[in-house]
Amino acid sequence: MKRKFLMIVAGALAVSFMLGSPLCYSAESIKIAGIFALSGRGAHIGTSQRDAVILAIDDVNQKGGINGRMLEMVMGDTESNPTKAVMALKKVLESQDVVAIIGPTLTGTAMAMRGFIEKEKIPTFMHSGGDVILKAPLDKKDPTSLPKWTFKSPYKAADAMGKICQYMSKHGIKNIGFLYSNEGFGKDGLKNVMVQAPKYGVTVVAQEAFQPKDIDITAQLTRINAKNVDGIIAWTVGPAMGIIAKNIKQLGIKAPLFECHGAGDPIFWKVAGTAGEGVMMPSTKIVVGDQLPDTDIQKKKILDYVKAYKEKFNHEPGTMVAYGADAAFIVIDAIKKAGPDRAKIRDAIENTKGYVGISGIYNISPQDHNGLSMKDIVMIKATKGSWTLLD
């Protein structure tokens, strides 16, 4: 009898999966797609970016939508996997009237989707970090074949690295050690530091790699410390951000630690604990909104957004949220200007000039589908579970 009951439950589940797929549409809404890493290794970033986009859309809808039409998001999950990302994209494209796409989260998934996006001609605003998304030609033989329909909201990793080096040279830090995780993001950082450091008279005297899943990095830090460095840059995201901070304290290394632009997020304190105190990093202004001078034109926008975010989701937004929010705001603005037409929306996004966003002021052009510059980045310092704005 018990067995029979379980079989019935299993059967009912199976039927519900088969029926579940179609989405409900209301006749008049304008649809945009949101494709995020909602599960898998990028889930902690993807979910906060999803929340950021939901907040932006709710805001528009509460104000009466766009010309009386509500905005609706069709959501897709990349599972942090390139194949699944393309599947999610095609699923979203089924609802033919999706006018634009926001996302995806991770660079690998973005690269897998890029070819199809360009072929289908859908304006897409990504919030994945890799500069390669905009830099790599679509056709390897033709270096001018850069993506036409793809945009991205996070500032360039090269600029973030430049910002650190600029700060270092200003504060007399000359010889540095560079520590990076041995995967795409870390190695990209290594390339960038080799270009940026000499520009500001900073010399990389030691470089060490570690595996992203390492639980102890003291060996590498000891080798770096042996070179008498004045500062250390650690280029990684995830638990290693905290491990490095802890190891430095344990070894009693005095040289200040700088981390990457992904560290300015509440997750940093979760992994670093009290050892995070004093770590410096480049960041968007979202985490230090209240410390900005009143003359900063972004200040009001950031404070309003942070307040709304906290009310809705009951926790502090981090840098990743800013990227998701800006992607959504710019796309929504383009729809307001151009109406629900894919090609016109693309042109409107490309002509976004002086747009005051959360991550910075966007000046998008045909040559630059990102639109942020080094001016939009601030240096912050981790202090008592929060952040202090540095000069």
Binding site: S16, L38, P82
Partner: protein, 326 residues
């Protein structure tokens, strides 16, 4: 081989061919085509892996690497060196087979589950190499701009054309596996799966057969990998990590070890379920796990044989009840 099961096979393959040909008439959505195509790609890997798991009792946890080798041989040779497309695929297949031989030869000479260890390590090494050999593979950023396959003047550049291409390969691979199992080699393999010692004593060179089957299953995975690369046109190391190896082993088990049609079913059901479960939003990972548990608890022989057995049981029960009444 009796004529009855031969007849069954003819019906089975005939039905598969008919379904492949007419299915596109009923499916309009591009999304369902990509799901079907991914099912097809997984099926090719699973059919090969099932030959290994189902008939020699050996498990490989490195099939993601063989799948990846196929993808990367096709991708790197065509993008970086301008190789013609089909020969690149063939080179990939042969090279993957050779690599599999090098791993299988020493580890399959040993009694016990040494192949699992060897393939586990191998899979991880290959995955790291994909990221590290940047000048060839494009590193972690991936390799882009892989051209679609062409045949004559026809380029397989959309979901529908790829559907026919991929499923033709599924059909051929399944047919090859079926013929293999019904040949002298197949009988030897069945003997090994029955009892290795007995097979050995009857003059079957078990180690040799195991290596051959392993090489063959790696080549199947390589074909599938090449098709994937030319279909999605972009590859990166994250598609070929350890999870994929686990996923295909799960498909073999859910479909039914040693069952050819079970392989098709296992790949189909698991690929589709993991997509359909997105309805459950953030709970889809849990729902997927629950589904796997249910299958393994109630249908441990795999879906195909399990359901068939349930059906038989119900039938005999009815007979018994009828007999009781009389």
């Amino acid at each position: 081989m009796n004529s009855l099961s031969k007849q069954k096979d003819i019906i089975g393959f005939g039905a598969l061919a008919v379904i492949i040909i007419i299915l596109p008439l009923f499916v309009e959505s591009k999304y369902y085509f990509i799901v079907l195509n991914v099912i097809g790609l997984n099926t090719i890997v699973v059919v090969g892996l099932n030959l290994l798991i189902g008939f020699t009792g050996q498990i490989s946890l490195g099939h993601a690497a063989f799948y990846g080798l196929g993808s990367y041989f096709s991708g790197v040779l065509t993008v970086n060196y301008g190789f013609p497309l089909w020969p690149a695929m063939l080179v990939g297949m042969l090279a993957t087979g050779a690599v599999a031989y090098l791993i299988g030869y020493p580890s399959l000479k040993l009694q016990g589950h040494y192949l699992v260890m060897a393939t586990l390590g191998f899979g991880i090494i290959i995955n790291i190499l994909m990221g590290e050999l940047e000048q060839f593979t494009g590193g972690h950023d991936g390799l882009m701009g892989i051209p679609p396959l062409t045949m004559g003047g026809l380029a397989f550049d959309n979901d529908l054309k790829n559907f026919y291409l991929i499923w033709s390969f599924v059909f051929l691979c399944m047919l090859a596996a079926r013929n293999l199992l019904n040949s002298r080699v197949g009988r030897a393999l069945r003997a090994i799966s029955g009892s290795e010692v007995a097979a050995n004593s009857l003059g079957v060179n078990t180690a040799d057969y195991k290596v051959k089957v392993f090489v063959l299953s790696a080549m199947f995975a390589s074909i599938s990998g090449s098709l994937y690369a030319h279909y999605i046109t972009f590859i990166s190391p994250s598609s070929y990590d350890f999870h994929y190896s686990i996923q295909v082993v799960t498909m073999v088990i859910v479909g039914g070890m040693g069952s050819l049609w079970g392989s098709l079913l296992g790949a189909g059901v698991l690929t589709y379920i993991s997509e359909a479960l997105h309805v459950a939003k953030q709970y889809h990972v849990i729902a997927y796990g629950v589904f796997l548990c249910l299958v393994l608890i109630f249908l441990p022989e795999g879906i195909l044989i399990g359901i068939y057995n349930l059906f038989l049981k119900a039938k005999t029960k009815k007979h018994i009840m009828k007999a009781d009444r009389h």
